[in-house]
């Protein structure tokens, strides 16, 4: 029997995991990644919530599994076009190369919200306002500092930047930011025990296992302060600190404070690749994400035969969910192509 061709688009955790699993079956797997290296967006993270596993080590395990296989990996290659003709998928890259496949897995993931759209929060205007990813860079370097190179005395985290916000067109919750703010506030207190840490939230959504415990630990052990209320605006003081205004909605009073760093917990949006390819394949869902056939039972299938979804191209997801989803998608691909496991 002729070997089937499977193409995986996206070399993040989902793409790596599904490609690696499918390589054990009777098919040729090709993996496309638009960046020079596989790994995806998670590479920028220092430690993972809720157990503070070092991200690099975890991803190295996934990547070393991938390297043991005979998968063709095309880095620096973006899929620009996707079309199904007579049950065969035809793909075109940015290098004008053409590929065909019997099954395609979309693992094109997400991008983060650009906080410049929320001008009132001062991102890109005041150097003291940074994103959670920029803060993660500091944690990776093991040193939290202001733009002037000083040790911050007070840090505020603001949740729901670009999520649950009608004004930027995102009605949904990004799911990962609440717990990420808890994680980062604990890491802040570990590096700077004397710094004051404030978390501003609309709701704290500690929905995963051990999240609530971590939140409790951040209060009890590390003394992180939580304020229910949204920061309405950030402005600079004469000494280049950031003044923030909010309502303490539980006290029913306006509140203001000066901070050295304001960390914006930017939300999750569909990546350009996700939106573009979903649109071209005719499976575009809400907010630019890809739409699966059915949320509960057919979440890896699409209305197009032979096109499968894995990971955060469907919705904001945690790393645990993405890997579990990639494995589930692999099962669907194997079923669809009726493939045998390699002997």
């Amino acid at each position: 029997m002729k070997k089937k061709n499977v193409i995986v688009i996206g070399g993040g955790p989902a793409g790596i995991e599904i490609a690696q699993i499918l390589s054990n079956y009777s098919c040729n797997v090709t993996l496309f990644e638009k960046e020079p290296q596989v790994g995806g967006q998670i590479k920028r993270i220092d430690k993972l919530f809720p157990d503070f596993i070092v991200q690099d080590e975890m991803m190295q395990k996934l990547i070393s599994n991938l390297e043991k296989t005979d998968i063709q990996i095309h880095t620096d290659t973006e899929i620009k076009d996707i079309e199904q003709i007579d049950n065969i998928w035809h793909l075109k890259t940015n290098k004008e190369e053409a590929f065909t496949a019997d099954a395609v897995v979309l693992a094109t993931g997400f991008k983060t919200f650009d906080p410049k759209y929320k001008e009132e929060l001062g991102y890109g205007i005041y150097p003291g306002v940074i994103t959670t990813l920029e803060f993660e860079d500091m944690l990776k370097a093991g040193k939290i500092q202001t733009s002037a190179g000083e040790e911050p005395r007070r840090i505020a985290f603001l949740n729901c930047v670009g999520s649950r916000d009608e004004k930027v067109g995102n009605h949904y919750c990004s799911r990962v930011c609440c717990i990420n703010a808890v994680k980062q506030s604990i890491e802040t207190k570990e590096l700077l025990p004397n710094a004051e840490v404030f978390c501003f939230y609309m709701d704290l959504r500690m929905s995963g296992q051990f999240y609530e415990e971590l939140y409790r630990k951040s209060q009890e052990k590390h003394g992180v302060n939580y304020i229910r209320g949204r920061i309405s605006e950030a402005s600079s003081t004469f000494d280049h600190r950031i003044q923030i205004k909010s309502e303490d909605t539980l006290a029913g009073l306006p509140l203001k404070m000066t901070v050295d760093l304001l960390v914006l917990m930017i939300g999750v949006e569909a990546s350009e690749g996700t939106t573009n390819l979903s649109a071209k394949a005719g499976i575009l869902g809400e907010y630019g994400f890809a739409k699966s056939l059915s949320l509960h039972l057919k979440d890896n299938l699409t209305k197009k035969e032979g096109l499968f979804l894995a990971g955060a191209c469907k919705r904001p997801s945690t790393l645990r969910e993405v890997i579990a989803d990639a494995r589930a998608a692999a099962f669907e691909v194997v079923n669809y192509l009726k493939m045998e496991i390699n002997g």
Binding site: G223, L250, L255, K256
Partner: protein
């Protein structure tokens, strides 16, 4: 002096920059469980005193956390130390010990208190 019939209102804004967090630390050193409070309001909902007077332990506790001490002594006077709030607290906060210690702390700071 002429009275014009109006005065300048004191700002209602909580200014965290002017808060002395050492006072809060005095409480949390004595009652570490105070740090666990998530302001759910179960204490205030079950409060025996709140059935008869305008009193919310949740709000009083929150204002203390935000360094707003001005009305707290008067508020605490309404508490009968029955401890019902402690029984219902989901986070195991020793609310009764908080009230007891707040009275001592505020007394030391020369805020008004009742005789214990």
């Amino acid at each position: 002096m002429d009275s014009w019939g109006f005065s300048i209102a004191k700002t209602r804004t909580i200014d965290i920059d002017s808060v002395d967090f050492k006072v809060l630390a005095r409480l949390t050193d004595k009652v570490p469980s105070a740090k666990r409070c998530i302001m759910c309001g179960a204490c205030a909902a079950t409060c025996s005193a709140a059935n008869f007077v305008d009193f919310s332990f949740r709000k009083t506790h929150l204002l203390f956390h935000r360094g707003q001490f001005s009305n707290i002594s008067e508020e605490l006077d309404k508490c009968m130390l029955c401890g019902k709030c402690k029984l219902v607290c989901l986070r195991g906060v020793n609310t009764r010990a908080i009230i007891y210690n707040l009275r001592i702390i505020l007394n030391d700071m020369n805020y008004k208190r009742i005789a214990l």
